[in-house]
Symmetry: C2
Subunit: 199 residues, 2 copies
């Protein structure tokens, strides 16, 4: 089983490579520190499986998975991430990934899941899979955009300028988002949406 590793933190990248190198049936062809580099390495090394983090500079793991799906590359994707966010899993599944593991899972789980995927199966964190079914993102595009900026401390006026909207409209969107998420203000709305992986 020939694998490629995409992970931005060099130390974690090296450590995972060391971990996989212990398995006799797994060969680590190489590794990449971001999505773009991984994309190039995919062409060159033709691995069976790509193991990818999500949050990486430039191209994220989710975007990389989407690109692989569009180009119909013959490589399975296994996401390995810190984030137990149902929105992330949902997007990953839409992008056709074969696995979604949390870094909280025991180390042995990784090699095990790779074997499952290599046999044609799927390896999805079970708890998260459940949550992803029940909870879906209630926000529309505008609300998402506006909430993202509001969460960075931008005022309604500033956001309005960026999108060529009136500041009243921006406040309406924020009010909508706050209502949909059942919270009390923009900060809580931002935090909740972020935690769910909806931003």
């Amino acid at each position: 089983m020939r694998v490629l590793l995409a992970e931005d933190q060099a130390m974690v990248r090296g450590a995972l490579a060391a971990l996989l190198a212990l398995e006799p049936d797994i060969e680590v062809l190489g590794s990449a520190p971001d999505g773009e580099a991984a994309w190039r390495e995919l062409e060159r090394l033709k691995p069976d499986i790509l193991i990818s983090d999500i949050e990486m500079p430039g191209l994220t793991g989710l975007e990389l998975a989407q690109r692989i799906q569009r180009h119909e590359l013959p490589v399975k994707v296994v996401i390995v991430t810190t984030f137990a966010r149902s929105g992330y899993l949902r997007r990953a599944l839409d992008a056709g990934v074969s696995g979604y593991l949390l870094k909280d899972a025991p180390a042995e789980k990784l090699a095990e899941s790779l074997r499952t995927v290599h046999r044609g199966g799927r390896a999805i964190d079970p708890e998260l899979a459940l949550e992803a079914w029940t909870e879906s993102d209630p926000l529309n595009d505008r609300e998402r955009q506006v909430l993202r900026l509001a969460g960075e401390g931008k005022s309604a006026g500033e956001i309005a300028q960026m999108f060529n909207l009136s500041h009243g409209t921006v406040r309406n969107y924020l009010s909508e988002a706050i209502g949909k998420l059942g919270v009390g203000n923009r900060i809580e709305a931002y935090r909740l949406a972020r935690q769910k992986g909806w931003l």
Copy 2:
């Protein structure tokens, strides 16, 4: 060289252990998923060096280092963390740690740093060390407490109740913090302070 590993993410913990196991002069005695567990293992295993993450459930790596310092345990501490926050490094140094590495650093750096520390030296991320000298936390205790809650979406009134203050006083503290940090509102203040490791 006998080391103990404290890191909450099981997969990363296992991977780091695999990485260190490759080094002939390093022996991984065990590992712990949080600060309290690490503290117990320290007593039992008497390692030369403790490798610890910072953000762990319950007792953090920084608190663990402080406790080790207070009890004058004969173990060197090396922090390995995601966070390039000068405030974290500062607190770590105050707690007498021998090393502070970022997970962004190459994997080889870890073993290398452990050897340096074992010889009695220090291994501190150089860029961060510089920043820690120049930038120091301008916030006082009240400002920190208040800002932390404000950043979670609490209103001035709610915060006031929690600390038995008037809501005007809370707003004054927030205004102070915003001014000291040179930003425009509580959200930006929270984000900046958090990024610097001052919360």
